[in-house]
Amino acid sequence: MTLGQIIALFMGSVFVQNFIFSRFLGLCPYVGVSKDTPSAMGMGFAVVFVMTTASAVTWILYRYILIPFDLTYLKIVAFILVIASFVQFVEMFLKKTFPALHRSLGIYLPLITTNCAVLGVAFLNITQFESESYGFAKSTLQGFFAGIGFMLAMLIMSGIREKLEYAEIPESMKGLAIVFVTAGLISIAFLGFSGFKL
């Protein structure tokens, strides 16, 4: 695996094919937890952890258990099982070490289980790197970079939303409406990366 491939993976999952801005996956926590930067940051780290570990484990699971036993039709169930366990672990860990962060994340933490971005990256890995060499390393890296991309999106959004608090917004656009418009505009900006070739 060359450095060029790693950079390509990084650019691809953080900017060009950002899970939120160009694949439109995982919008629920993106809108729900991006009110202030600290909790957005916490959510970002939790998603990075879950995505990285889930990508690694699901790739092993798919390659060495599901394919040899001809059980590939079970991939959705098996992957959800893996992701749910990891989210459970993250929740326990956060409750023990960062109780304040755990409280501010609230319901959105267990909701990572159903975060389609996590399942999305797991599926993307097995379709892209199933038979490639260094498939394990590539899928783990892709999971990690996808998490970084998610965190980047969360941070951009929370930064803008903190500034929006001071802005004068028309009555009808207050709250979620202006957030969706903002998300759309950032998404258009990220569209510019699609022309970016390495």
Binding site: L61, L66, F69, L71, F89, F93, K96, P99, Y166
Partner: protein, 283 residues
């Protein structure tokens, strides 16, 4: 579909499930958090608006402090006596009394006072205050940016006809959010029963006050002499009521030549309203 496929798929998922189950139960042994069930109960009793009047980050932190650090149970302003009593029952403590407090904005001339410049930008007084020391000439007056109005969790702050914000005492829960928001520190928490207020915060000399605002305290000291309880004192050219001594007699209201002392018992006059007819003081 052969029976083998069913056995294989069920078996594989069963094994996976058992594997993750064991791993999670082991990690839950290490990461267990012991939590007092009373914390949850108290946090349910509290109003859960996270206003911060108690001095803690939120209702949950206050509940935690009550149970673990034996914090006083009468700190919740919005909840009042009822909440305090419920917590007292739960904790087996004697209930403490709570004096209901409401916010008072000590300015009534923001809309009338002379402007330093025309401000056009983000309409928030915390920001206006940074632009050349605020848009009104009076260095102590309200900037009409309505940060207090936006910060109020119960919408107890409204604008009067001069667009000056004022607190509706009956709606106010005394959380103190506006007190911390106001960039000019005009807002103070006062006991609900004390209904007579001096609505000016200007420490300028009388002559300077008259130049910039028609409803500012000129520091004449008439109210100080009129008060039978010595509750009013002069602080750097500003009359200040000592609310602990004030008996709410209302004598000072009558003698004030600039009419900045308001008695909200008789009829709730919005600050600045009576100025409309008072043409001689208009700038």
């Amino acid at each position: 579909m052969s029976i083998d496929a069913i056995i294989y798929s069920t078996g594989a998922l069963l094994l996976l499930g058992i594997g993750f189950g064991i791993a999670l139960s082991i990690s839950s042994k290490f990461l267990r958090v012991e939590e007092d069930p009373r914390i949850k109960k108290i946090s349910d009793i509290l109003p859960n608006i996270n206003c911060g009047a108690c001095g803690f980050a939120g209702c949950f932190s206050y509940a935690e402090a009550i149970v673990t650090k034996k914090e006083k149970i009468n700190l919740c302003m919005p909840g009042g006596e009822k909440t305090s009593k419920k917590i007292a029952d739960l904790m087996g403590m004697a209930p403490d009394s709570i004096e209901k407090k409401v916010a008072v904005i000590h300015c009534c001339g923001g809309g009338i006072g002379r402007k330093k410049y025309d401000y056009s930008g983000v309409k928030d007084c915390r920001i206006i205050n940074m632009v050349a020391g605020g848009s009104v000439e009076c260095a102590y007056g309200c900037l009409m940016g309505y940060a207090c109005l936006k910060s109020c969790p119960v919408h107890a702050i409204e604008k009067n006809e001069n667009r000056m914000p004022y607190v509706i005492s009956d709606k106010c829960i005394g959380c103190g959010r506006c007190v911390n928001t106001c960039p000019r520190n005009l807002i103070e928490l006062v006991e609900y029963v004390k209904k007579v207020h001096i609505l000016c915060s200007s420490h300028d000399r009388g002559a300077d006050v008259i130049k910039v605002c028609s409803v500012g305290c000129i520091g004449c000291g008439k109210c100080v002499q009129a008060c039978p309880f010595n509750a009013i004192r002069m602080e750097n050219n500003l009359a200040v009521i000592d609310y602990s001594k004030c008996k709410v007699c209302g004598k000072c209201v009558e003698v004030c030549p600039v009419k900045v002392i308001y008695d909200w018992r008789k009829n709730f006059i919005m600050p600045g309203k009576q100025r409309k007819s008072d043409k001689k003081n208009e700038l």
